[in-house]
């Protein structure tokens, strides 16, 4: 079976976000770039399915020329092929992105049995692209999936809900958006990472008509982190008066 996994290049987070001076983007010089954990899991799922059933796993992203770095991460996780829908770096909205991806899927040589997405991107978190692609291609879609198996042209996908699990059966081809936890994504081996660096990435221009046009970024704002500071009030019995003071005057619970 042929599986396509769509990913997005985003600045690595997990530390203080610094904006560029024009506030149009994140200064990623200390951060580096990555993809969302959901997407890493999606690649892992794709690779496992292909390992079990044969076929090819392709990773695709719409992004700037440097986004081939994330594609190579996918290749290093032993995906077979990579496609870059190359933009000039401008932010594309979810609809435009989905249109471009859907067009690329139509134009592809493979007929994909399964299109995997992360549940949401790590930066914009619009929760839309996978669903929009399904809509545009007229395919069934299940979202927020945490278990996935394929049997005889059918995908069995599970989603966690409070108190249990919902299991879906969808006919392939289908779109599935995947959530972190579905599997334990592999670390690339040295050999795989090395060959990934050398592999050819299929670069294409996304359909200009679906371009970023309808969507304009004004500026970014970094959330202030001041109010989350913890204060040590003291240690041992000596701390009691100060704690009472805080409870009474600042928190007003006593």
């Amino acid at each position: 079976m042929d599986v396509l996994t769509c990913i997005k290049r985003v600045p690595d987070t997990g530390s203080k976000i610094v904006l560029t001076e024009d506030r149009q983007s994140i200064d990623a010089s200390n951060l580096g770039f990555t993809m969302s954990p959901h997407e890493e899991c999606a690649i892992e799922a794709a690779v496992q399915l292909v390992e079990a059933h044969g076929g090819t796993a392709r990773v695709l992203t719409l992004g700037p020329p440097a986004a081939d770095e994330q594609l190579r991460t996918g290749l290093a996780m032993t995906a077979d092929e990579a496609t870059l829908l190359e933009t000039d770096g401008a932010e594309w909205g979810p609809r435009a992105t989905a249109n471009a991806i859907a067009d690329a899927v139509r134009a592809a040589e493979e007929e994909f049995d399964l299109l995997l997405f992360g549940n949401e991107s790590a930066d914009a978190a619009n929760y839309q692209v996978g669903i929009r692609v399904a809509e545009r291609l007229g395919l069934p879609v299940v979202a927020g999936i945490k278990s996935l198996e394929v049997e005889d042209g059918t995908a069995i996908a599970g989603r966690e809900v409070s108190g249990g699990e919902e299991i879906y059966e969808v006919d392939l081809p289908a779109v599935v958006t995947v959530k972190e936890g579905i599997n334990e994504p592999r670390y690339a081996s040295m050999r795989a990472k090395m060959s990934a660096r050398r592999q050819e990435v299929d670069r294409r221009e996304p359909d200009a008509e679906s371009g970023p046009g309808t969507f304009e970024k004004l500026r970014l704002e970094a959330p202030s982190d001041e109010d989350s500071a913890a204060e040590v009030l003291g240690e041992g019995p000596e701390a009691v008066p100060r704690i009472i003071e805080v409870l009474e005057e600042e928190v007003e619970v006593v």
């Binding site: 997990g14 530390s15 203080k16 951060l31 670390y187 081996s189 050999r191 660096r197």
Partner: protein, 869 residues
């Protein structure tokens, strides 16, 4: 060890809580310092500096004696704290040239007293079963090497520092093994001792009247008598706050961690196989649990600006672990896979961690230690590796408290770059070049290519016209020899027979022209300029007492006299040796070797008392020096000088003002090459003119410009003159070096007591001149030693004196006038006898050598008739 309240004042503040800061705190406490504060902007125990993510490999053997000894002492400290694993380390060779280098490693191991073995590929495989033996030709096995846990060691040292400083335990109790980790739990929670201020960022240093006063942080300002900058790669930034410079740059060292590796699962412990250094690819493979850490210095140099290093908040991992630059690491991955496919090329073993690790790089790779001379009380302890951290903390603590360290730290003195090699541009140029030399095969005379020329004297163009081969010392460009003198090779063909060096390594950075220049000087006359001296004038009403206090030789001499004298530390070891001339009743001039100039300057300034009227005027950059030496020197100089230059009018070892042609100058009649002649000092602006005048005047005598090869090696070795940093260093006394001709003067001076004792005592070792008896004892190519070779008895045992110091070649050089290759070495009494046959080991082979002279008697012209003629 309270950390809640930020104190208002502290005796000594240490900035930085990496391995260096912790080592310093511990050893300062051991030295009796009580009121200590350690500040770090990050949390403990891992504040985010380089110490938090290193491979922690401790490989003791280097070609530098001091660095080897510092690592050895550090290993012993890590071991004593239970934080050392003796895994051993193997440097493997992929090329023939590297095999030779490994033999040189063996030579250094023997010279410095480290156990080591040369291994065949099969022997390497026994220790490292997963290595691809087809790729390697040999291994150098350092059995004493291993790994440490620097964060744990830091915790222990902090706890001990506090316990000692508060009086809860003594250093002796710790050394006796009486203090377990539990005994330190909770001691010293009271005031005093070592206070810790983690999560506290230093933002400014307050300096007043040239003295450090306070440290300003985001949690308040603390006044301090003394501040040590141990801030790793941030050290330049902190130094700048006080208006001084610590020349280093952050540099990337790429490292990945690969695992889980099934092979390692059967073994216990954090490390169970030797660390492998794959020297020819500039990489290492270091097992750690079930992982293998693969580190590389092979990639293109990636240097950072310190301002770009992210803050703790901005850094996803830590400030010193930016993301790996993939493309730079590609070749390293291939090389590692090729060397250890069995463990690294396992598809199950993934890259679990990958970083562009940041570390500090000084322009010459050595640490940056010592007092920052423009701010009293401010010290640097930077560009230090984990392998040497504890011992360097110990040495700098000794230096701070009693004035000198046990191990000579001259090559690591922060002042060696003073006022010439501190710009960012230059530091980066050198660091860039140096990076490519890590694990490289570096010839002892190897010259830097980058950042040159940075200091040129007035003679530079004239010397360049003579096709000078330039060597650099403390930034100064100095001709080592002149290709224009090639014709002298024919003139002296007979004398040079047997002194040519057929081996490429031996003759690298060398030319037989040096020997021919030497012979020409001995027969006729030569001009040597500029030696790049440090030239310091001291003036003021207290200057006589001050200079007297600094020097072994009596300095209250008549105006116009010169004194060559050792400068000693309190232990009687050498801090320097130099010439002091009295220019006036309250005016002295100190002339010292270029390489030591910055450090000597710091030593002299730090010994000027608070109320003493002494001012230092640094003339190093404003005066040029031209030496004119040889039997015809008087005729040449007299012919263009207004004054009477006769033996009677200008006696040896005196100084006068003279006018040479159009140039007003000042001259000393002395010589480091053992010839009649003068060192002529003139304003830099007149140097060009001076050179022309002497060159023209010397034409009739075939005067030749000759290089530092003659000045620094051939002439000196024949005359038995000692060189600071080679023969003279903190671990040896004037008695041992044969430099007690001053006797014991009345006046007090630094090191007097120890000096007097050393004169009285029998020498544990005496500096001797030896000659090579056979350059090819087994036939084949004649080899010429270059220095640092171990000296052994006839049975092949390296000589060791009763203080545990091993005999090695401190200097090596050919003496063309005596027709021999000469070596200097300190020998224990049983072997310090003229005529004794010994051996040296050089590149894996042994060579017979004979003791020619015990002590400082010159081999050439022993009565100094030439100088006095």
């Amino acid at each position: 060890m309270s950390s809640r309240e930020f104190p208002d004042s502290a005796g000594t503040v240490i900035i930085g809580a990496g391995i260096v800061g912790n080592s310093l705190a511990y050893h300062l406490a051991r030295q009796g310092v009580e009121d200590l504060l350690m500040i770090d902007k990050g949390p403990l125990p891992d504040p985010g500096g380089s110490t938090g993510h290193a491979s922690n490999f401790l490989m003791p053997v280097e070609h530098s004696k001091e660095m080897t000894h510092l690592t050895r002492r550090s290993i012993e400290q890590y071991d004593e704290m239970g934080t050392f694993a003796n895994s051993g380390g193997i440097e493997v060779a992929r090329t023939d040239e590297r095999v030779e280098e490994l033999k040189r490693r063996m030579q250094s191991a023997k010279a410095w007293g480290e156990p080591a073995e040369l291994l065949t590929p099969a022997e390497v495989e026994e220790l490292v079963p997963y290595i691809e033996t087809d790729l390697i030709e040999a291994g150098f096995y350092s059995t004493g090497a291993g790994t440490c846990d620097p964060l744990r060691a830091g915790e222990i040292m902090r706890a001990r520092a506090d316990a000692i400083a508060t009086g809860a335990v003594t250093p002796e109790e710790i050394d006796a093994g009486d203090v377990g980790p539990d005994d330190l739990e909770g001691v010293g929670d009271g005031p005093g001792g070592l206070s810790l201020a983690p999560n506290t960022e230093v933002q400014d240093l307050h300096v007043d009247e040239g003295e450090i006063r306070a440290v300003e942080t985001d949690r308040g300002t603390v006044t301090a008598d003394r501040v040590v900058i141990a801030a790793g790669l941030w050290s330049p930034e902190i130094a700048k706050m006080a208006g001084v410079e610590i020349p280093l740059t952050p540099a990337v060292h790429q490292m990945i961690s690969v695992g889980p590796i099934p092979f390692f699962e059967q073994f216990e412990g954090e490390i169970n196989h030797p660390v492998v250094r794959d020297m020819d690819t500039q990489m290492y493979e270091r097992p750690s649990g079930n992982d293998m850490e693969v580190g590389s210095y092979q990639h293109r140099p990636i240097l950072w600006d310190v301002e770009d290093v992210p803050s703790i908040e901005e850094a996803p991992l830590s400030p010193t672990q930016p993301p790996l630059t993939d493309d730079a690491f590609e070749q390293s991955m291939m090389d590692a896979l090729e060397l250890m496919p069995e463990v690294l090329d396992d598809p199950e073993a993934g890259i679990r961690h990958e970083i562009d690790g940041l570390l500090s790089e000084a322009p010459d790779g050595a640490p940056l230690l010592g007092p920052l001379q423009d701010v009293d009380g401010l010290w640097s302890c930077a560009a230090v590796w984990i392998k040497e951290g504890p011992a360097i903390g110990e040495m700098v603590a000794q230096w701070m408290t009693r004035g000198y360290p046990d191990v000579d730290l001259s090559e690591a003195n922060v002042n060696r770059f003073y006022e010439y090699g501190t710009s960012r541009e230059w530091v980066k140029a050198r660091a860039h070049e140096l990076y490519q030399e890590i694990y490289g095969i570096v010839h002892p005379s190897e010259q830097w290519q980058s950042g040159r020329p940075i200091r040129t004297s007035a003679f530079y163009d004239q010397q360049d016209d003579h096709d000078a081969r330039w060597f650099e010392a403390a930034g100064w460009e100095r001709p080592q020899w002149f290709e224009s003198n090639e014709d002298l090779l024919d003139v002296y063909a007979d004398e040079l027979e047997g002194l040519h060096r057929p081996n490429e390594w031996d003759s690298r950075w060398w030319s037989p022209i040096i020997l021919a220049e030497h012979l020409h000087m001995r027969d006729h006359v030569a001009m040597i300029g500029d030696m790049g001296f440090g030239i310091f004038d001291f003036v003021g009403s207290d200057v006589v007492d001050y200079v007297e206090r600094m020097a072994v030789g009596r300095c209250d001499v008549d105006v116009g006299k010169t004194v060559y004298t050792p400068i000693l530390a309190e232990n009687g070891g050498f801090v320097s040796d130099l010439t002091i001339a009295r220019l006036g009743p309250e005016h002295y001039r100190v002339v010292t070797g270029g390489a030591a100039a910055g450090s000597d300057r710091a030593w002299f300034t730090s010994h000027i008392g608070d109320d003493e009227h002494v001012t230092l005027l640094d003339r190093s950059d404003s005066l040029c020096t031209l030496g004119v030496w040889g039997p015809d020197a008087r005729e040449v100089v007299q012919s263009v000088t207004e004054e009477d230059m006769s033996h009677e009018a200008f006696a040896p070892y005196t100084a006068q003002e003279i006018t040479v042609g159009e140039t007003d100058a000042w001259a000393m009649r002395l010589s480091y090459v053992g010839e009649l002649g003068w060192e002529i000092y003139a304003p830099m602006s007149k140097g060009h003119r001076l050179w022309e005048t002497i060159a023209d005047a010397g034409d009739a005598h075939d005067i030749r410009p000759v290089g530092m090869g003659v000045y620094g090696t051939t002439g000196r070795m024949e005359k038995g003159y000692r060189l600071f940093g080679h023969e003279l260093e903190i671990e040896y006394t004037p008695a041992e070096a044969g430099l007690t001709f001053h006797g014991l003067k009345e006046a007090d001076f630094n090191g007097k007591e120890a000096y007097a004792e050393a004169i009285e005592a029998d020498n544990a070792a005496t500096l001797c001149t030896l000659s090579v008896a056979d350059h090819a004892p087994d036939g084949g190519q004649a080899r010429f030693m270059l220095g640092n070779e171990p000296v052994m008895d006839q049975d092949g045992q390296v000589l060791v004196d009763e203080e545990g110091r091993r005999s090695y070649v401190t200097s090596a050089g050919t003496g063309p006038s005596v027709g021999k290759h000469l070596l200097m070495a300190y020998l224990p009494p049983a072997h310090a006898e003229e005529g004794t046959r010994l051996q040296v080991e050089y590149m894996g082979d042994r060579y017979p050598v004979d003791v020619e002279v015990v002590g400082s008697r010159p081999l050439f012209d022993p009565e100094n008739d030439r100088i006095r003629s």
